[in-house]
Symmetry: C2
Subunit: 330 residues, 2 copies
DNA sequence: CAGACTTTGGAAAACGCTTTCCGGGAGGTT
DNA sequence: AACCTCCCGGAAAGCGTTTTCCAAAGTCTG
């Protein structure tokens, strides 16, 4: 293991000088010594010991990213956006997946705190359980007191910088658009009740229908993934349009309808939410609400990194996109 | 910032005792002192400073994961598998995306070396450029000399533990299966020449056709993603079956054929490779070669973590899965 | 050319842990 | 009762950096 001291000795300079040359210091070092140090470092194959550096500097070059599930393209897209800005800032990314377990989210914040990461990004819907939220807040506050920065992509419930997708508005506009196509009877394939994002989407959609004077939709709960969409869709009947609260559930619904011999959009229209890139080529192509996922991840990290006393919440509105999976009536 | 020393003082014990209680040591500590320390730690909200711990122990609890592109479900699935075993071992994961740039891959290995991560996982096809491979090997050797462990998911070119998808065999078996359906004239939507995985798939497929005495396929190169598949597919004509060297290219091809008014599988059959989970519900459902992606990621990390002098290569064979996108002729 | 700055190099004190030694006391054996 | 072992607590020496303080050597200025 080559240390700075080895480099310094080989270059015939002091530890201080070697440090100043190799790890960006504000101090100047004369050209000749600088060259000697660089040569020695290259010859010996020196690699900075980041742990030692972090300890001495009291600040690390790592950020933490906590997502629900990396194989869900929704999170992959957001993570990708965040990672691009991390890379541009020379920061490494430490990542944890909670698989939607609030306990694990808290545990990760604690671990990332122990790692003294520069910032933590919490990506994904908050939960309705106030106790879980409170415990998470406590942990976050603890981290922030020791200088950590936090941002969230989700609901503004943690008292930290947050990028908030306007789920209610997006769902409401989708509802209006679908009503505009002539639909009157809806079913909603909802996620679990304890996740706020899907709940907000249900409420936004439902409220909009009510405002339009349309009958209340039938709400069918399922897990927030493809299987949940499939399962919920097996119970759908008597409606002309179903709204799945996210695209992967919509995909499950499409599969269920196919298996049941129900044609989309001829027999029933289907719409999703998120506009997942990987699903762009589905047949029929999916009507949905587009969210700028990568941008949201990037923005969240920018917020976290940008020092500021009060916490900011930036709302992101989705854009309704009607494709082939929804058709006009009459 | 609460330190171990603060905890020790508050508990009225020595630093050594506090350390032994809070951070798994082999040494026993009496019940009463242990309780005092735990209480003090909880009261003060102590969080281990992992950087200091790493420095003192000379070993970290993080592993590095280098993938081409996280938004590609292929990599997300492998990463997920690896992350599950990491989590089960109490290891954190530091992740880097190269966007298929060999330079960046090398740079990440260097950075992860500086971080003194326990192990590095390189996920994704190797490149044909021997110079890039040599430079990467040099960097890896350097890392390993200082005790780092390395594993790779891809081709066995780096002299490290490797999980090798048998691309040739998988493609060959796919070719035989498709020939078994009666197809004689094939086109291959190939990836870029400098990536070995797609090249191997092309060769395996081509060789198998030759063995069967069938005409050589037309090979169309494109980028290793959806767009590449789309672009290459626009040039396809006069064949009954096209093999896209991975599923996302196949999706692009499906889209291209749709745009051209060519029906799949009636007018042309399409097969992919990888069996991406998210694409399971495509219509028509995609014939492909299934690779146990999560298992491969998990296995690679196991190999990396399992000490061994000589480097091991474990081959993984894909399973041909014929679905709706390929049809039998005659 | 004296005095006041500015540069630049080095010595050494942190940074917050882990772990090796030491030593004292408790328990067991002749 | 003397001798050995164990067991457990603490003092202190690292781990590899950064950075503060000094000091020496230039560089200006008047």
């Amino acid at each position: 293991m080559v240390t700075l001291e080895d480099v310094a000795r080989q270059a015939g300079v002091s530890l201080a000088t070697a440090s100043r040359v190799l790890n960006g210091s504000t101090r100047q070092v004369g050209a000749s010594l600088r060259a000697k140090v660089e040569l020695a470092a290259a010859e010996l194959g020196y690699r900075t010991n980041v742990a030692a550096q972090t300890l001495a500097r009291g600040a690390s070059n790592v950020i933490g990213l906590v997502v629900h599930d990396l194989t869900d393209p929704y999170f992959a897209a957001i993570a990708d956006g965040a990672m691009r800005v991390a890379e541009s800032q020379g920061l490494m990314v430490m990542i944890g997946t909670t698989h939607r377990d609030p306990q694990r989210e808290i545990a990760y914040v604690s671990t990332l705190n122990a790692q003294r990461v520069r910032a933590v990004l919490l990506v994904g819907s908050r939960v309705t359980d106030p106790e879980a939220t409170r415990r998470l807040r406590t942990e976050l506050d603890h981290y922030r007191e020791s200088g950590g920065r936090v941002a969230c992509v989700g609901q503004n419930l943690l008292g930290v910088d947050t990028v908030v997708p306007d789920n209610r508005l997006g769902a409401a506009e989708l509802a209006r658009a679908l009503a505009g196509l002539g639909h009157r009877n809806f079913a909603i394939l909802a996620g679990p009740d304890w996740l706020i994002a899907p709940r907000d989407r249900v409420e936004g959609f439902t409220d909009a229908l009510e405002e339009l004077g349309l009958p209340a939709p039938r709400v069918l709960n399922g897990s927030f993934d493809r299987e949940g969409g499939y399962a919920a869709a097996t119970q759908v009947s008597g409606v002309t349009c179903v709204f799945a609260v996210n695209d992967v559930m919509a995909v499950g619904a499409l599969a269920a309808f196919r298996d049941r011999g129900i044609r989309v959009p001829e027999d029933v229209s289907v719409a999703g939410f998120d506009d997942i890139f990987t699903l762009r080529d589905l047949v029929p192509s999916l009507s949905t609400v587009r969210l700028p996922l990568a941008g949201m991840g990037a923005r969240a990290l920018e917020l976290a990194l940008d020092p500021s006393e009060e916490s900011r919440a930036e709302s992101v509105t989705g854009e309704v996109i009607l494709r082939e999976s929804t058709r006009g009536l009459g």
